[in-house]
């Protein structure tokens, strides 16, 4: 196919998904800081062109007020809109947690099903660009811990596009986690209109020796490591979770059953992180069947540092991923 040959980065893919969703359904609206074209179409250009095409009623730049942003999205959703709210960086969700957790996540239940809150909170994060201690945290475990929220974290432009469409048209709140460095990495362009289902992991490459589970930017490091392993004749199965909650346990379990060895790698903190949940489930479901304990690789146990050598060592490096794999293989 001609589109398959095309390249596009994740920022463009997200932009395209927003365009397509807005064109498809006029209840789709977008809001966030600097997102309209007058303000440049978003600091990372993910919303470029939307306000010009769909008007500043549906595409609204906001004051710097994340509670007001998420609150407006919640209210809009209650009144029949499908808002996509941008929280510029994931650390800024910390000022809007009440609206997200006490309201968006709960109103369907607390109203006994009278209402529902079909909104998407887009946010980006990730170390690598020297943004320091308050701009690069991965907080997906918090949201995954909260009943009523879905949490996705695509690693490729095509998945970003397809998951964005699914999240927008899902009838419940979705936390959509983007990665800042990945915005600029080109990948295969998505097929127009093709939605990637929420809750479905993707097997990036099949393998029988070990299962490597990851998502978002760290996935690419895992893939890199898997290539190295292949040279040694070790066949790793690489799984891109894509959705953190609900977890695709079918895919995870099938792979773990096959390989008997699992490493989970993510950029978030290891302690009380997503890897813990996966490990707990795997050990329970496959008790006595694994050949080695599930290994977890994540960021250093510290805030994100500024200084380059520290930042480089903070993230789950290929070296650390590889070391965990070797330990799991032995």
């Amino acid at each position: 196919m001609s589109t398959a040959a095309k390249k596009m980065n994740s920022a463009q893919a997200i932009n395209l998904a927003l365009h397509d969703a807005m064109a498809l359904d006029e209840s789709v609206v977008v809001l966030g800081e600097d997102i309209a074209d007058r303000e440049g179409g978003g600091v990372f250009k993910c919303t470029a062109g939307l306000s010009t095409k769909f008007g500043t009623g549906r595409v609204k730049s906001t004051p710097i007020a994340e509670q007001a942003i998420v609150g407006a999205a919640v209210g809009g959703a209650l009144a029949g809109l499908r808002p996509v709210a941008e929280i510029m960086l994931m650390n800024f969700t910390t000022v809007a947690m009440d609206q997200i957790v006490n309201h968006a996540a709960k109103l369907r239940f607390m109203t006994g099903g009278q209402t529902h809150v079909p909104l998407v909170i887009r946010t980006t994060t990730g170390a690598g660009f020297g943004t320091g201690g308050q701009h690069a945290d991965y907080l997906e475990a918090w949201f995954a811990h909260t009943a009523g929220l879905k949490v996705v974290a695509p690693a490729t432009p095509a998945d970003a596009y397809g998951l964005m469409l699914s999240c927008i048209f899902d009838d419940d709140p979705c936390i959509f986690i983007e990665n800042l460095p990945l915005y600029f990495v080109p990948g295969e362009a998505p097929e127009p209109g093709v939605r990637v289902p929420i809750g479905k992991a993707r097997i990036v490459q099949e393998g029988s020796d070990i299962t490597l589970i990851s998502y978002s930017k760290t996935l690419h490091d895992v893939i890199g490591v898997a290539k190295e392993l292949a040279k040694e004749g070790i066949a790793a199965e690489v799984i891109d979770l894509r959705t953190i909650s609900p977890l695709d346990m079918d895919t995870i379990l099938a792979s773990a059953r096959k390989t008997g060895r699992v490493v989970v790698a993510h950029e978030a903190q290891v302690d009380f992180g997503v890897g813990a949940e996966i490990s707990a489930r795997l050990h329970k479901e496959l008790f006595g069947q694994l050949k080695a304990p599930v290994a977890r690789v994540g960021a250093a146990r510290s805030p994100v540092p500024f200084s380059k050598p520290l930042e480089a060592a903070f993230v789950p490096t290929r070296e650390r991923i590889l070391a965990a794999i070797r330990e799991t293989l032995n």
Binding site: V29, A65, G76, A79, R108, F109, T111, A147
Partner: protein, 328 residues
């Protein structure tokens, strides 16, 4: 609409009907709690009845009202049907929220009551979203969001008023200033001379009104509702009032000076309004007694309905978390 416009007799009697229905509901719910029919925290709006009563007569069914844990007055004024309302207070399966919400979180979407929050200040940003949807759809719906004096000190208040101003949203921000935030007296928690003053910081009208005066309250509300309906943007309305039954049932109001409480009770807005209606010749004592009796009978029917209703089945825990069929 000029502020000196007068409410019609019919409007005044409707305000009275609503206010006394609220009082009846409050009295009876407290009895039910005391009788052990339900164990629940309860935040009585006794004393604040005229505010939503005088607002609601300016609203359409399709308008939205957002309120708080202290919200049964706002819900009743908006016209929530009594049977599922009381059933919700009592945690029954027939409640508006199937008993999942409870007294702090009664909602009824069909009555324009989509959100009742227990988080101070959180309703205001959500009200903006409801109003944004109306603005986009080009309806003339208005969103009224109620909150307390204490809530005017939290960040969400500020963010919401500013956004509503910048987006020119059809919202009426109603601060029911009962002088206390839990146990904290107004001046110990709030820097502003009046909460209405804070409107200056958003470039919108800020109106202070005696919320215990039905006519003044009606005038202020109808002007603000008309402004919102006309697309002229939000208003901050500060309705001064008092809270007779403490913050929460069981609270003995020890932090309120005796003379302050006594003066407030002496000025109870309901008997005052009743006497005024009669003195002005708007109604006879008998007419007003009939209204009260009708309220009482209707409410009693709802109580009976609710008490006879089943509790939700435990399987309900797994429902309404996410859309049916999806994984939570």
């Amino acid at each position: 609409m000029s502020e000196t416009q007068q409410p019609s007799k019919a409007v005044l009697l409707d305000i009275y009907r609503i206010a006394t229905l609220i009082k009846r509901a409050d009295d009876r719910f407290i009895e039910l709690i005391k009788a052990g029919q339900i164990a629940s925290p309860y935040y009585s709006p006794r004393g604040q009845e005229l505010i939503p009563a005088a607002i609601s007569v300016n609203l359409k069914a399709s308008d939205y009202v957002v309120t708080t844990y202290r919200g049964i007055h706002d819900q009743l004024a908006k016209g929530i049907p009594l049977k599922p309302f009381v059933a919700e207070l009592l945690g029954r399966a027939t409640g508006t929220c199937k008993g999942k919400g409870g007294p702090m979180h009664v909602t009824h979407v069909a009555s324009g009551l989509p959100v009742t929050t227990g988080i101070v200040g959180a309703g205001l940003p959500i009200a903006n979203g409801l109003a944004w949807a109306s603005q986009l759809k080009g309806t003339d719906q208005v969103t009224v969001v109620n909150f307390g004096d204490g809530a005017s000190n939290i960040g969400a208040f500020h963010e919401a008023l500013n956004l509503a101003a910048v987006w020119k949203l059809p919202v009426l921000f109603v601060c029911q200033n009962n002088g206390y935030a839990e146990h904290t007296k107004y001046e110990y928690g709030t820097g502003a001379a009046t909460i209405a003053d804070r409107a200056i910081g958003y470039g919108i009208p800020g109106v202070e009104v005696d919320g215990n005066d039905a006519v003044a309250m009606w005038q202020a509300a109808s002007a603000a509702v008309a402004r919102a309906r006309a697309g002229e943007g939000p208003t901050l309305l500060e309705a001064n009032t008092f809270r007779f039954r403490g913050h929460l049932m069981g609270d003995d109001s020890h932090y309120i000076a005796k003379d302050e409480m006594a003066a407030a009770i002496a000025a109870d807005p309901l008997p005052r309004f009743r006497a005024w209606l009669i003195a002005q010749g708007h109604a006879s004592d008998g007419q007003l007694s009939d209204i009260e009796a009708t309220n009482a009978a209707a409410f009693e029917e709802a109580v009976e309905y609710a008490l006879a209703s089943p509790y939700p089945d435990v399987s309900e825990l797994a429902k309404d978390v996410v859309a049916e069929g999806a994984q939570a």
